[in-house]
Symmetry: C2
Subunit: 209 residues, 2 copies
């Protein structure tokens, strides 16, 4: 639920100086007690404020102050991303597979000699190549990777909902988080369906569901 300007002001006053009486709050706002009565009723009933007789209003401190919906909209990629694992485009498929196991990730990002994003390697790509192929040491990853401009990416400041939608639409398990520069894309993070699953759980936990 959205609070209006006056309700937000009241909430701020009580947060700062509570417990405080309705009279005192009204005074601070240059209003009479009767004017703010509905606002106090709303704030109390919605769980933002608690009231105690002969003490006054105090801030409930409940996390219900932000609704689950608001939390969800406010989730940013930057707050949930993981560390990216990158390999040079010249390494072999064999080394890439070893790297994937070593770091225990499902996706590797491939960078060119200027350190810009040039490709993506999934477990699926590597499994497909390894099947019946005995010379994995001799194949460089740039031969099998998904390459720019076919890579879907996102930025730190994108919402988690945006990233989730991209992964579902493109049927992929992760996205590189990048900074767009003139020379190319610098990889600064990795967002995965595991991050989304963790965010889903954190929503429930933060709101004590």
């Amino acid at each position: 639920m959205e609070l209006n300007k006056r309700q937000t002001e009241i909430l701020e006053i009580v947060k700062m100086d509570g417990p405080i009486t309705g009279e005192q709050i009204a005074e601070r706002l240059n209003l009479v007690r009767a004017t703010i009565r509905p606002d106090l009723a709303i704030l109390t009933m919605a769980g933002y404020l608690d009231a105690r007789p002969r003490v006054g209003y105090f801030y409930s401190g409940k996390k219900t102050v932000q609704s689950v919906a608001d939390s969800m909209i406010g989730m940013k990629v930057g707050d949930f991303q993981s560390i990216p694992v990158v390999v040079a485009d010249t390494v072999s498929v064999y080394d890439a597979i070893c790297q994937m196991f070593l770091e225990d990730v499902g996706t590797l990002f491939v960078i060119d000699k200027s350190s810009n994003l040039s490709g993506v390697l999934s477990r699926k790509d590597l499994l497909r190549t390894s099947l019946g192929n005995n010379e994995l040491e001799k194949i460089p990853v740039h031969v099998i990777m998904t390459r720019m401009p076919n890579i879907t990416y996102c930025k730190k400041q994108d919402t988690l909902l945006y990233a989730a939608q991209k992964m579902i639409d493109q049927q992929i398990d992760s996205l590189p988080v990048v900074i767009e520069k003139e020379e190319g894309l610098e990889v600064v993070g990795r967002i995965t369906k595991t991050n989304i699953t963790a965010a889903f759980l954190s929503l429930a936990e933060d709101h004590e569901l």
Copy 2:
């Protein structure tokens, strides 16, 4: 936000008989208008009701009537699960990999000759085995699979939050959905981080976030 008993009653009255004035609602509840004023204010501000001058209150019809929190708690595995892909424990690793690509899944469930769940195969298991191994046709999957009782599973009626928590805790990408029988576990579904990501998006969509 949780509605109290009176607010729920008001909502029901407006749903049934709206548009209806505040006076009329109060009358139905044997209360005076002033008593229900804060309730009406809350219901309106929270988007449950709309008010129009000289017409009265009417039901907004928005899906916000169920809070995002309630929707989230109510999500069941059975409503989001995918079709499981199963292989017999006697098939070769090579055939399992082919099956995985054919069905485009990240996990295969392995069943014994009585069709009960006996193991799980992830892309990671198969990639590890295929690395430098030229005789994938000769290795049966039961040699490399994760086997009972080390398999984490869930049931249709479990909440999606429960399944998400299990996947995060166990660091796995999917769970078999089973029916527990005396003879063993019958596999009836598959729940993955993709399903959780889709559920996360559906929450936002259903509530028009």
